[in-house]
Symmetry: C2
Subunit: 209 residues, 2 copies
Amino acid sequence: MQYFRTRIIIVEDNKTVREGFALIINSISKYFVVNTYDNCEDAIKNVKKDKPDIVLMDLELPGISGIEGIGEIKKIMPNVLVLVNTIYENSDLVFQALCAGASGYITKNSNHSELLEGIEEVLQGGAPMSSKIAKMVVTSFQKNPNSPLSNRETEVLELLAKGKSYSMIAKELFITKETAKSHIKNIYSKLQVNSKSEAIAKATQDKLI
Amino acid sequence: MQYFRTRIIIVEDNKTVREGFALIINSISKYFVVNTYDNCEDAIKNVKKDKPDIVLMDLELPGISGIEGIGEIKKIMPNVLVLVNTIYENSDLVFQALCAGASGYITKNSNHSELLEGIEEVLQGGAPMSSKIAKMVVTSFQKNPNSPLSNRETEVLELLAKGKSYSMIAKELFITKETAKSHIKNIYSKLQVNSKSEAIAKATQDKLI
DNA sequence: ATATACATCCCCTGAATAGGGGATGTATCG
DNA sequence: CGATACATCCCCTATTCAGGGGATGTATAT
């Protein structure tokens, strides 16, 4: 019987929350909380033994952060599904967690059913997120509409960011190398930078390309 | 009264679907379907007059594509919210639509209530997506776990992609310029490329960085 | 009419890069 | 004990880049 249950571990430093989650999850017969931890280190140490299908992960933890913890756990068991459960909704943490390998990101004001729905959605191959986080994620695909760069300059900068040389840029845009250089000079002046790497860094940060 | 309603336009080439959507949406008193179009060109032409809050957009259209249409409409009215409604769920289209400025992406097998929920979620500043699409989007943040590159090589390639020079890479990684070059040579050989721009292109495509 | 932005092209010089060639030492893995 | 991957360092030469200086023509604003 137990072999067919979804194995879940919980990493959460607050005892009350941790035990509450375990109770809620264990109340569903197809789920089975293998273990709970109040820090990442112990979870990482035992993940091979625990063989979880899902890790329910807090981010604000003593010792190594939840973000790093996700990476470590995914390194050991790449197929484990990590569902982040935290109070934080600021964009850096969300993207860091997703980049580290999280499959979903729900927040702690979720009620019991949202937690269980999140787990179920992760299991079904989905990516549960709050509405606000979904919006942040979608917005991250979109360019800054207030770019100071002209269309042509943006084209040049995109090619530069792809590692193209001046002459390759010139060839692709059917202009001379000198024109490409002129555009780049203007880009540098508009972005107030004076090197290629600074320009790419600023453009990436400000989502100009 | 009408002034307080959410103004919606529908771009959809199938007459039955188009009129069906209009009926469903107009059945909610706070929504108001200003106009419907069977192609993007007309929608773009009239968007200034229509002043929509939301555009419900099909992607498979005669004439210019829905993707381009999103871009054009957002260029004219940057604050309009575009909700894509299509049968296609393949990743390229999804990402193209999001990059072009879509705020949500729902699929046509959605029932009426999903359509209305999508509209409401977009209005509330969210980003409605199907579970499958949310997963695609989240996965797009994650690196390829089967990278052929070593950790060091990945670091070097990341800096290269940021436009850093060999000497800057060397300085940042506390190695000599020659070592950095060696890593780059090895990267080129592993990725079967022979230039910086090809390496960056391949790495980006395969999500190695 | 007069700026201002945009896109295009030219020249110069010193420094950096690309793409070859090789070498060494340390792990790790059969 | 080899073989292999990894990370480190050295040399060489043609090409390219950065950053400076200008110039021209066309739109678009003001």
